[in-house]
Structure formats: structure tokens, C-alpha cells
Symmetry: D2
Subunit: 366 residues, 4 copies
């Protein structure tokens, strides 16, 4: 177990490198009887696919997923679902010039020191290509959550470099290549991206996620708090440097009388908490923010060392995203789906027959 | 497994409620031969103890820890270490008036809905008293890390409500009741706390943690990234709403040429990454920030519902911290120690005999 | 995680040594709302207690269990249940003469080589005293299984040394100190035990366990087959050398036409399988047999080495069971209960809403 | 997590059905730097391959394994190793006549009741084809254990139906299709198999496994005893009904003075314990026996029910092994390798720097 499995009951075990033959994963624990076909998964994969716009890496991958097991006559059987996506457009020669030196801000050096050597082709396992399988496994979780629990997950770009984007129309985020929730800002975004690319540089981003329809009760109250597991899942995405729940860092500056979400028979009167209290979902929307660092592979020359420890310089050419945040929304949504699915099953295992005398005040709003 | 165990190899399983007979935990996986006695643990417990200053809850607990197993002739044996702390100053009558209604911003409502009923005395398992055992288990990890791996962990208060505190003298944080790293600001802090308490309100905080001496190679590169596991451990502390690694949320606004930490034969030239690249420690200091919401138990009246769902009002009296952040530094340090200890063992399991041709550029600085 | 936790959803984490201050465990994952008090657990502890007859060790322990957490107003809360039993009758001086040499057939040597040193007092963690907590944790599982699922677990002594005992009256096993299911054989058993003790020797045993009322569907079909997890749990009891399901070793000599249990609308027509098919419970009774080696601590002198590797001789005096099998029935029952409880919750997590068109043919008989 | 993962540190997660597109697994936790290519795995797969002799199923599968990840320039990288074998000779029509009725002694009925429906083609996930991936994952473990730890694993057929086979020449077991360790008995075996097949029946078997070169110290002393984990791994193989360590069931009839393995400076003087004491390897050979029931798919007509619960009769035609034990030796060896590999890493994680003053008395013999 070198950390390539996530989840306790809905578990996803993934494998694959950027320039190996294929990426794949095993989804274990999915309940039986869910209608499932490749198209259900392909839809989400399409959203994170490279080459999908001029603002992202131009690597050409169809990312066609194949279901190898666990589905019979169009329904999940309860046995593990094996998924595979074959790599098609490896251009390993791009990496010859950096195979003996370490990109700053990249996993190159740490892989080298952990394992003694590394697969330098396209960053190997450290490549964002690894996230293909997160999206695939998340797509199954989303489908189950939507159909059986009424839970929906969405996200949008909330900030990119200096630009902060208000969620004027969150649904619009699915219609533009920036996941931008305010279509009026698209020209600014385009300009920023072109300028960044032109400078051979990259730029950071901040995303917001929302899960609606989550019933109260999901999450374990101590170490595996729902928000703790969300933080684990999202911080585990490449390049993420911060995870916030609800008001997040702003909570540090607030008073108790300001932060608290009062209760009424018709629901909570605010949502500073982001839908989690004491590690357990409250029935409100789950609100999460994640901050993503700028891509490490840039064309601005930088100081570094080579494999023998000698000082040298590096410039990364090849095909890279100027802002990894642009393709990160479906990945982050998928990880949130995996966590919610896992806790949905965990809660059911322990508390399937619990009846509370207290009404669910959020039911009407969910 | 309802989430009361943390760690894969250095595992901590805890139990206990605020007003039950005792709190305890089992530390499993500690290597044998570590010198250990109760005083080694008591030292850290003392730092989070209630009643230790006038700015924290006045509950009177000696928090005397007893080692029940796993130590023989002053050394750990390799078998599980059982720890227990008996509760001494339960005043359950304080809770009679809130037992049938839910404090906003508190786990009261979510426990009720998850389990169908709840131990309302002192918040039961949701109480910050649960963190006693985090500190105890963390103390053993810290001792091992310090003695066998040269790793040291420290922390301080970086913000409290509107006041931001610069780390002018981080070591001074251990000498004042606020964990304040800038002694010149103490009068401001005292004033803020008195004002907050006088208003019957509470206030949020932000902490900074640092681990020095961490060798390169700790962490698993995909789901169980070192920073992901740190995020899980820290977000799982009561009231934490955000976890940031290195530059954290600021990274969203940075350029790649700005964020990256260049490498030289003498170490990294900056530490924006917070000591983690690709989920694996780089040998730099680990830097983490956590934001804590204001205490939910306040005396400002608030709207809520009762157990039958009827609207009502609530005022929390009793003994509460006006700022939970003040006692959180030792807790957060302990959780970071547990994660580092766990990954120290995980790394050793897989990579004990790895030799890299690349020199460890951080060795001299560590 | 050094293997002191068992179960995925109903997890038991135990600690404690023979001559330390106390033994304890944490039961995590128990559903809320189960009525529970110390007496519910004490009843089972009484059955494995030392000193309960003249045929077992004369160590005097009341084995009084204390519930430290997880129960409020007489019901489980869903949070971890902490249990503790204090050791009362340690006579560590008995072990002075063997502290520097290794008893053959005992864990003395292997602990020494694994950990570099060992707690020699009463065998430390390797003592059968460790099983106190198995029985305690199993008692909670049994209560839940009995009350919520109609599952009952029983066992008896099927063989002791040369004597094979037929289950003439399995219920009678609870009324004699040998767990003997055929009261007519008691004089033979007494004679055998006295002869064995008189010779300073010990003797092996074989037990049979039965679980009735188990619904079809428990168990995971590949690695965590129900019988595989039963084998793990029972082989993990001190001194067990074989675990058999249903016909067990006899199946190796059978034909397919002989072994198979045909199906009818009124149930299965035989039970060679022991209630498990393809790793999943069939609804028939679960039948398990375990074989236990003779106690290693005997007074017959034997050759061994000392801590420096020099040849020497050993005689074990002190208080030991001439047949560990005699007190093993409640321990084995407890472990079976823990496994069934765990799989009951695991099955519910994944398959809570499954409906099969096929009738449960065993329902009438269960 | 529906039990398709085994191991804590060397973890194997498998997927795939008998008549699906492919079988596969993910091996996570393998140390980096191990030389590995497909041929290393293919060698072991060849030994369990269907159609390899006239005494086993005539299904024609090349069982060609493909490494999809985790190996770079001929060495393992430390990242997960994805393996896949495509199914080639599915003849699903064979199953049309049994798709609506349940084979006695088979997983048909229990899958139906657990999941509500089942993949009836070739038994789906319950097919022995699932074991392909056990052998593949085990092959990697074996290679590591042999090269880095000097551990070798072998096995042979010890009994088939009424015939007991003495290990006259265990190495010869690798040269005949029965894994028979006594070549003089081959004519008897052939005769028995032909007679069994002629009668449309099947027959059980018992296997013996041996691991040599195992150092003292592997195994965790309480729940995850080395023998408990071996029992779990072997009982989890299809059709296994009993697992014995060392003297196994015979230990129930022995005296302590007879069973114990005395120690000398030159090693143990006997090996009744099968190489495990107190759950920890002693340095002696690990000896394990497993008993396998006769195949359930036979041509002798039997009573059963259909999917609606109505009584009916069944005859299984198609391609089946008359004795599943014949192909089970490589599978059982693989599972033992996985367990030893896992505990090798677990032991190293906790005890990498332990030094015992006591010499390893088995070193010379290993």
C-alpha cells in the first residue's frame, strides 16, 4: 500500500504513468444494480481531456475508457469495476533534455530521492495524466449519488492569478474552456492566458465546489471527519496547496456571533460552515475551495541541479498547461464525489436503522 | 471503523467523551526500544491543559496520563501502548438547559441526526477534550522523530481575529499563554481576549506549524501525498476550516516563475512549496497553516430549534474557551508529528534500501 | 498498525500484557442505540476467567470490566467503546528463572528476535491473558447479532488429546468446566486432566463452533471470503494450529457428488459446506473447527538456549493451564462473533437495498 | 472495499470475471529497483494455465500477461504495477442452461442472494479464473523474496481423494501435471483421474506448502499473526476448506512434551510448529497444509432450485476440472508469497533497526 488507494468502502485503486501503455483503476465496493456503461464515464473524461481547447496542453488523447469487469447486462454486479484508458500520444523524446536535471517546483527531485531513480518520461506517475482515473472513478460515484441519493456536485473557477471571478452564473462554467462562472469576464481570461503563455510562464488558480442534496449524518466525528476526508482527497490532487471548507481562512478573522449558522424549522439561516458541523454533514450545501499553484513546467529559465548534484539551468519545453487549474474542475468534482460516496456507504453501514426524533430541517431546501 | 483510528503504520485509536469516566487511546506500531515514561507525555499535555491561564476554559483537569501497556523497563516493547487520562471535573448539570436544543455552529444537531440521540454532557465525543489523546499520542511520535530522525516540530499563533502576528521570535511562543511569536504584541492580545470575553463572544485564529529536519522522500505520491495526509490530520481537529501548505491560498495568485523554489547544490533557494513536492517531502522545512473558526459556545443569544424541531433561542453559559485557537498549537503539532511518524515508517517499509546517486542538497541545512 | 486491530467496520483494537497494569480495547463502529452495560460483557468474561475450576490456571483475577466511553444512558452512542480490565494477581517473580532462557514451543524466542528484547513477565503480550479483550469485544458483537439479526453462536470441546467427544448435548457444554458436549464422558476427562497435570505435561484440543440464524449474503467473494476472515480470526488465537470450515480436511477425500449440499425449496439437504459457498454465507449454520496445540509451559525438562545462545535446560513452573483448549471456547465464540458482526455491517453498507427474486430457502429453518 | 484487496503494505487489488474482457490487478507497495519483465510473471502463470494437461479444464487461454505500469527500463519504480490478462476463449453459451438454476456446492445461490442478480457466464467473479491474478501478483512477490531475502516457496499435492502422497521427491512435483511429489505413484493418479472423469464426478485434494529461508521476526503477535494471515490468504482461495500450520489438526491429539520443538545453538530440534511461534516466524521452514473440496460443477445429476425457488434438477456440462487441487499448487504458493512479502515489509517498517543480543540459531540451516 503505497497510497494508491482511496476510500474505505467505495475504494479506488489506480495505476499508470504519463508515457506507459495505459492508465487504469479498480473501483471496489460499488453497490450492485447501478446502470452503467462507458458513455456514463466518458462524459466526465471529456471535460478534463487534454487538447480540448487552445488554453491547455496540446497532447492529443482520446481518453477512451473501457470497462473490463464488474458490469453485466448493463448493471454493476457488486464485484470490482476494472477501468482502463490507453495512452496514445506519448512523445517521450521531449523529455530527453530534462531527464538528467530537476525542474524546480516539480516532483522530479523528490521522486529521485525517494525511489533512487525515476521515470522521467512526461513525469511518469507524477503527471497530471494520473488524474484521468480519478475522473473515471468519480463519474461512477456521481451517477450513484445522483440516482440513489439526490446528491449533485458542481464547481467553477473562482480565481485565476490576479482575477477573482464571482459566481454570477455557475452553470455557465460548463460551457466555456475556463470553467468561468461569469461569462462577461471571458475576454479578460483569454487575454491573461495568452499573456502568460507568451511569457513562457504559468499561473495559479482557485476553485469552488458545491455539493447539493447531501443528507445530514455523513462523516465520522473524529479523525475521519467529512471535511478532513475532503481535505485529504483534494489536497491529494496535483498542485493543490490549500483546502478550505465554508468560510475557510476567513473564519480566522471572524467572531462566533458572526460565523455561526443559526437554525430554524425551515433550515439554517446562513452557511458559513460549508455544510459540515463537527465533521458531519448538516444537510446544507457542502462548500469547498481549493487553491492550485502555477504549473512547474515553464519556459522561463531557472537554476537547478543535475542528477549528480551539479548546478545547472533548466527550461521546460514540450506540451504543458499554462494553468493546471483550468482542467482541474472535473478532477476536483470527482474527488468530492468519491469522498461523499464513501461516507454515504460508511454511514449506512453503521446507522442504517437510526431514526431521529428531530426533523431534518434541510429536507425542504435540498 | 467509525474513523477513530488515524495512521497506517503508526496508528492511533482513541476513545472517550468530555463527561465520561476517562479518555484513552492505543498507539500501535511504535518501534521497540524507545525510552518512554509518563513524564515524556505529560509535558505536552500540560501545554493544552484547560485552566492553564485565565484566557481559556476554567475546567480543572490535571490530565494525568497513565501508560497501561507497551512499555517495559522504561522502553517501548513494540506492542501497543495503551494510554488513559481520567476525567476529574465534569459538571454535567451545566448542560441541562441545552440538552434539548442545538447550539448553532456546533456538532449538537449533526450528532443528533447521525446517531438518533446524543450525549449532551459537555458535547460528549465532540468536545475538544477528545484532543487530549491526540496530544498524548503525538508526544510519543515527537520523541521518536526527535531522537531517531532529527525531526523537530514547532508552531505559533499567526493570527487571532483581526490581529496578524509576525514570527519575530517563534521560540517565545512557548513562553506565553497565547502561543504568540511576537512578545511585543501581548498587551494587544490580552485586550482583545478580555473584550471578546466581555462581549460573551468568541473569535477565530490561524496557526503556523513548522517541521525541521524532515529528510527527503516521506509521503506517497498519489492519494496519500504527505500534504494530503497532513491536511486530513489537521482538518480533523475540531473547528479547523482551512489547511494550507507553504504559500497556500496565495499560490492561486502567483506566477510559476515566482512560486517555484530553485535548486542549488546548497539547497533550495526559497520555500514556497512548504517542503512538499509531488506529495513527497523535499528536505526543506515543512510549513503548514491552519485556520480555526471561533468557538460555537457563546453567550450571545441565538436562534435555534429544539429536539422536536420547534424554534427557540439559546445562550451557552458554562466554561468555554473564547478562542479555541489558543490551546490548539500543541494539538496541531501533535497531529503533524503523527503524520510524519507514520510516513517515516511507511517510507522505510518500501524504500529502506534505496540509494540515490543524487546528493541530498538539504542535508547541510537540516 | 502492528496487527492489534481486527475488523473493517466493527473494529477491535486491543492492548495490554499479562503483568502490566491493565488490559483494554477500543470497539469502534458499533451501531448506536444498543442497550449495553458492564454485566452484558462480564457474563462472557466469566466463562474464560482463570481460576474458575481446578483444571485451569490458578491465577486469581476477577476480570472486572469497566466501560470507559461510548455508552450514554444505557445505550451505545455510535462513538468508540473503551473497555478496561485491571490486572490484579501478577506474580512476576515466578518468571525470574526463565527470563534469560526460551521456553520451547513458546513465543519467547520469536519476540526476542523480532523486537530485540521482551517483557518476560508472564509472557507479556504473548500471554493468553490478551484474550480477555477478545471476549469483551465479542460480547458486544454477540449481543447486537442476537438482538438485531437473530444470530446465535455456540461451541464445545470436540476432542482433547486422545478423546473424541460427540455433541450428544451441545447445550451441556456450558455447564461443565470442560465445555464437554457429552456429560457421560466427564469422568474420563477429569482422569485425563489429572494424569496430564500429574506428569507435568500438557495436551491439545479441538473445538467446534456453530453460528445459527446467519442470513445469506454475508462475506466478500474474493480475498475477504467469510471463511477466510473466520480463519484469520481463529488462527490468530494463541495456540491454534488449524481451522476447518464444514467438512474441513475430510473434504480432501470426498467426491463432488458426496460433498455437495443439494438445494430444495425447504432449504439445503445437507451441510458439508459449513454454511459458506464462494465465501458468502448461504443461510445454513456456520460450522467451524479449530485445533489447538498443547500448552508450551510444562514441567517436563527440555533443551533450549539462553539469551546469549548457549545451550541450557528449562522447566516451567508457575501457574499454567494443562490444556488451553478448556478456556478457549468463549474466546473462539467471541472471535466468530466479531467476524460475523463485521460482515453484517459490510454487507449492509454495499447491499442494503438489494432485493433478490429468489426466495431465501433457509429462512424457515433459521 | 468489497474485499478485493489483500495485504497492508504489499497490496494486491484484483478485478475480472471468467467471461468478461479481461482480468487484472494492481500491485501497490513493491519496492523500487526490482528487475521485472513479463516473462518473470508468465513462468508462474504457465503452471496454473487451463488446458495444460488432459486432466484439467480444456478451456484454451494463453494467459498472456501485460505490465501496464510501474516498471521503467526493466526495473520497478515503486509506483503501482498494473497487470492485465485478456480472456480469449469464453464460451458463454455453455451457461445458458444453468443460468436460471443453482449448482449445488457452488457460489451461484449465494451471489444471487447477496447481490440480487449474478453474472452466470462461467461463474463470473466466482470462477477459478480469478486466481490468474493471484499467481501474477505472487510471482512478483516471489521474485523479490528470492532475490532480496533468500526466501523460496514450494508446494506439492499431498493427497487426492483416497490417495495420500509422501514427499519422496518434492522437486519432482514441478515435472508432472499432478504436482505429485512421488513419481512412482503417477499411474495410480492417472487411473483415479480417468475414473473420476468417467463417472462425471470430481474429487478433493490436500496440498502442502513450504517456505524456506524465512528469517525470524515476520508476523504480528496478536490479530495479524503470520499464521493467521496465511490462513486468511489460503482459505480465501476458491474451494479451500481447511488450513493447517505445522502439525495442524494432529496437534489436538499431542502432548506438550511431544509437540514442542526444542532449541539448540544449531537450530530447532524438530518442526512441529511449522515455523511460527506466537504468530512470529522462528526462522524454521514455514509448513502449511490446505484441504480443497471437490469441484462443484459435475455431471452427476443433482437436486436444486431455480431462480424462482422451484425445485428442479441440474447437470453441469461444459469444461471443468475434475480436481481443482491439481492446478492449485501455484495459486497457493502465490498467496503464501504475498503474505510473506507483506510481512517482510511490515516487519521492516517497525523493526528495521532492531538488534537482538541472541544469535539467530536458524541462520546456518536457512
Amino acid at each position: 500500500m503505497s497510497g494508491n488507494t482511496i476510500g474505505r468502502l467505495y475504494t479506488v485503486t489506480s495505476f499508470g504513468e504519463s508515457h506507459g501503455p495505459a492508465l487504469g483503476c479498480v473501483v471496489d465496493g460499488c453497490p450492485p444494480g447501478l446502470e452503467l456503461c462507458e458513455a456514463d464515464i466518458q462524459r466526465d473524461l471529456e471535460r478534463r481531456r487534454p487538447g480540448s481547447s487552445q488554453y491547455v496542453t496540446q497532447r492529443r488523447e482520446s481518453d477512451t475508457v473501457q470497462i473490463l469487469s464488474g458490469v453485466f447486462e448493463g448493471r454493476t454486479t457488486g464485484t470490482p469495476i476494472g477501468l482502463v484508458v490507453h495512452n496514445e500520444d506519448q512523445r517521450s523524446r521531449d523529455y530527453d533534455k530534462i531527464k538528467d536535471r530537476f525542474r524546480p517546483n516539480h516532483a522530479d527531485y523528490t521522486y529521485q530521492q525517494k525511489y533512487g531513480f525515476r521515470d522521467y518520461r512526461g513525469s511518469g506517475r507524477a503527471s497530471a495524466r494520473e488524474t484521468v482515473m480519478r475522473v473515471a472513478a468519480g463519474a461512477i460515484a456521481r451517477k450513484y449519488l445522483a440516482e440513489r441519493a439526490g446528491i449533485a456536485i458542481s464547481g467553477y473557477l473562482a480565481q485565476i492569478g490576479p482575477l477573482t471571478l464571482a459566481p454570477v452564473n455557475p452553470a455557465a462554467a460548463y460551457d466555456n474552456p475556463f470553467s468561468c462562472p461569469d461569462p462577461s469576464r471571458l475576454p479578460e481570461l483569454e487575454q491573461l492566458l495568452w499573456a502568460t503563455r507568451g511569457a513562457g510562464d504559468s499561473i495559479g488558480a482557485r476553485l469552488t465546489l458545491r455539493a447539493t442534496g447531501v443528507p445530514p449524518g455523513l462523516g465520522e466525528p473524529v479523525f475521519d471527519k467529512l471535511d478532513a476526508d475532503i481535505a485529504h482527497a483534494l489536497m491529494g490532487i496535483n498542485a493543490v496547496k490549500a483546502v478550505e471548507i465554508g468560510d475557510g481562512v476567513a473564519a480566522a478573522g471572524q467572531k462566533g456571533s458572526e460565523h455561526r449558522d443559526e437554525l430554524s424549522p425551515d433550515g439554517f439561516l446562513a452557511n458559513h460552515s460549508g455544510g459540515v458541523l463537527g465533521g458531519i454533514s448538516s444537510g446544507q450545501d457542502i462548500l469547498v475551495h481549493l487553491s492550485i499553484k502555477p504549473t512547474s513546467s515553464i519556459q522561463v529559465p531557472g537554476r537547478t541541479i543535475d542528477i549528480a548534484g551539479r548546478p545547472t539551468e533548466i527550461v521546460t519545453t514540450g506540451r504543458h498547461d499554462p494553468c493546471v487549474g483550468l482542467r482541474a474542475v472535473p478532477i476536483a468534482e470527482a474527488m468530492l464525489a468519491i469522498v461523499l460516496m464513501d461516507h454515504y456507504l460508511r454511514h449506512r453501514a453503521q446507522n442504517a436503522d437510526v431514526v431521529s426524533p428531530t426533523p431534518d430541517i434541510t429536507r425542504a431546501r435540498r
